[in-house]
């Protein structure tokens, strides 16, 4: 039961009207504005207008030292701050050839995966809010709260972490964290089952998502969409596997892929990813080596002149940092390739001819974080 999509697109402006969705619309989750040209309830054109929360992070990178840019990274995609930390420190470490002790790498993986789960939980709950289901939000936030507590105890912040440093971490984890994480992993598995029973198998949700908002692999390629959007279109592209960074190559996990390409496929990818993240955390905790968490770092950091890249798999897809150095203590250029921006750009093409609620279901399934789009 899919809505008809082949409606004749009417060009006569008398027959269509413009619906200004946002920047304060409840489904926009932040300040995204979408200018929708509507024919009744059908969207004939949806034009995203980002820019309401542009903060010039890239420009800020050019007028502060390498270290001073670190807190910025946590504020680009505030829901997966640690991945963004990781990409930037990774780029600088690659450039300056800084060795990171293995313990630090393992802790980076553990905390990043925790962060991925918490990010997916926020997406899940906010998405259900878009679809009109309220209660899952509170259940997911109860679980997310545990992750935030764990991460707060070691990083000192709850959302915009600034925990990774060039060469390691700002402080080590303790036994309480390890035990807490193990307990969390054990608790989270039955919760994921509960989520499946309550929401994923629910007929209302399935009818709303199955076949809605198909995105083909071709479309993803055209717009550079990555992450769960691409994996929901049947392409097993995950930076953790295709260009393994940190210690991901030593851990056993697989990349959930669903070939349908509809909103349900993207939904299922994220739900399956949470399970995989739990697996990664467990293994990393088992393998966690002893040792220092900080490598040798020069007191004043000067990167050799050149052009360096580092990509990580953030919760929303491939996040890449490109830094250009001209051998000063201040970057010449910091370029951030953020997944939400590419994922949003396919929206206009993908949403053509959909009904308004379906178009919003598609928008939610892209898992956009608006500051990540605007930077």
């Amino acid at each position: 039961m899919i809505a008809p999509t082949d409606i004749p697109s009417r060009t006569n402006p008398q027959e269509t009207f413009v619906l200004n969705l946002g920047p304060q619309h409840p489904a926009a989750h932040g300040v995204l504005r979408i200018k929708m040209t509507m024919d009744g309830e059908y969207v004939t054109r949806a034009e995203p207008i980002p820019g309401y929360i542009h903060r010039m992070h890239e420009k800020m990178g050019e007028n502060r030292t390498w270290t001073q840019f670190l807190p910025n990274t946590g504020r680009i995609d505030y829901l997966s701050a640690l991945h963004y930390n990781h990409a930037f420190v990774g780029a600088v470490e690659r450039a300056a050839r800084i060795e990171v002790p293995p313990r630090a790498e393992y802790i980076r993986v553990i905390t990043s995966e925790l962060n991925r789960i918490s990010s997916h939980l926020v997406w899940w709950s906010a998405y259900l809010l878009d679809l009109g289901g309220f209660t899952p939000l509170l259940y997911a936030f109860a679980d997310r709260e545990k992750i935030l507590d764990l991460l707060e105890a070691i990083t000192g912040s709850r959302l915009t972490y600034c925990y990774f440093r060039f060469g390691g971490l700002c402080n080590d984890i303790d036994d309480a964290f390890i035990q807490g994480t193990r307990a969390f992993v054990a608790q989270m598995r039955p919760r994921l089952k509960m989520y499946r029973d309550l929401v994923t198998d629910n007929i209302i949700l399935r009818k709303r998502l199955e076949g809605i908002g198909p995105i083909s692999a071709e479309l993803c390629r055209k717009y550079g969409a990555t992450g769960p959007v691409l994996r929901g279109a049947g392409i097993a592209y995950d930076v953790r596997k295709v260009e393994p960074y940190s210690v991901y190559s030593q851990l056993d996990f697989h990349i959930p892929v669903f070939p349908e390409g509809d909103s349900m496929a993207r939904y299922r990818v994220r739900m399956a990813e949470m399970e995989q993240s739990l697996r990664i955390i467990e293994q990393a905790l088992d393998k966690l080596p002893a040792g220092p968490v900080m490598g040798k770092v020069p007191r004043v950091l000067r990167l050799p002149a050149g052009d360096y890249c580092y990509a990580v798999e953030a919760a929303r897809g491939r996040h890449m940092v490109r830094v250009v150095s001209d051998n000063k203590d201040i970057p010449y250029r910091v370029k951030l390739r953020t997944p939400s921006f590419s994922n949003l750009s396919l929206y206009e093409e993908a949403s053509k001819g959909m009904m308004l609620p379906d178009a919003l279901a598609l928008l939610g399934s892209l898992d956009l974080v608006i500051p990540d789009i605007d930077r």
Binding site: G132, N202, I204, L360
Partner: protein, 331 residues
């Protein structure tokens, strides 16, 4: 004292009582809803105003009353102001024929059921008018949805009620309740020997009732994550408050109807001490289910909602209608 029993006075009293009943119910059902939502979500719900939050409705009403009633420029002022009244008055009207107990009924007319349904339909028109008068795109989209939704669900609802009428043979609500006297298997819900699909009819009735009252998961009128606040987008202060009240008044009405038609009204489940207490117990149990459903499911998509009605509910209810007429003819 004789003037107290005079018909006009009695009606006036009944009207006042119904208004008070609706008002109190609306105020405290909002609280119950929020408390219930809280419990479903493992949080306490409103608990600051008064002990356990019991003064919350007072605070809410005070807040709504103190707000300015904004009539946006360009609206159809008369319709805009009239719509909230038109939404709430039919619900109050219909409550007049609901038998709360054997004697506690404002006006016992022998076509009570018919009256409830005819007045109930005004609700749709009023919501459509409010959407139209608001001169707001979201409101108009929502109004269009509400009309097709309500039209679609009126049909299975009426089919189900006709099935029931075949069984009862009367439209007098009090008489329908009287027929269900005795133990709970005499309730229409469990009368499987007249029609084996009676429980299914009740489920269809319940679903239609949710759809007719625009409750989640069928809350197309409000659909806050898609249409901001749907038809209510432009309403402020008590204008919005009245819509809110009407929503709860309609729930009370729908659940009372469900109680009367299927759950034996004021009859007690084990044949003893029938009375108003039983009616209220059943009524609030149904209302609890309505709240429970709301806080469990996501919203349906609009065409799924119509598909559900046209492709599933209407065929099933037609089938039950045929079945019960056949059964009545045969036995």
């Amino acid at each position: 004292m004789s003037f107290l029993t005079a018909e006009p006075v009695r009606l006036l009293l009944a009207l006042v009582c119904i208004m008070a009943f609706v008002g109190l119910n609306a105020a405290y059902l909002v609280l119950a809803e929020r408390k219930g939502a809280g419990r479903f979500q493992r949080r306490p719900g409103p608990n600051e105003a008064g002990y356990g939050g019991w003064l919350q409705p007072v605070a809410d009403v005070a807040k709504l009353l103190s707000k300015q009633l904004i009539v946006p420029p360009g609206t159809d002022t008369i319709l805009f102001r009239l719509a909230p009244l038109m939404v709430i008055s039919p619900a109050m009207m219909c409550l007049a024929v609901i038998p709360f107990s054997q004697t506690l009924v404002a006006r016992n007319i022998n076509v009570g059921l018919l009256m409830v349904f005819s007045f109930g339909s005004i609700n749709v028109m009023a919501i459509m008018l409010s959407g139209w008068a608001s001169r707001n795109k979201y409101a108009i989209i929502s109004a269009a949805r509400v009309v097709s939704q309500n039209v679609a669900y009126e049909i299975p609802m009426l089919l189900v009620v006709i099935t029931l009428l075949m069984v009862t043979g009367t439209m007098d609500l009090n008489e329908i309740v009287r027929q269900q006297a005795g133990w709970f298997w005499h309730w229409n819900l469990f009368k499987v020997w007249v029609n084996p699909l009676m429980p299914v009819t009740f489920v269809i009735f319940f679903i239609c009732m949710l759809a007719e009252t625009n409750r989640a998961p069928f809350d197309m009128a409000e659909a806050e994550s898609e249409l901001v606040a749907g038809v209510f987008t432009e309403y402020a202060g008590m204008g919005f408050g009245v819509f809110f009240m009407a929503e709860y008044a309609n729930i009370v009405l729908g659940c009372s109807l469900g109680t009367v038609l299927f759950l034996g009204g004021w009859q007690s489940p084990f044949g003893l001490w029938p009375g108003v207490v039983w009616f209220l117990l059943k009524l609030y149990a149904l209302i609890f289910t309505v709240i429970w459903v709301r806080w469990t499911f996501p919203r349906t998509q609009f065409y799924n909602l119509l598909n559900l009605s046209w492709k599933i509910l209407i065929p099933i209810s037609l089938f039950t209608l045929l079945l019960s007429s056949a059964m009545i003819k045969l036995f």
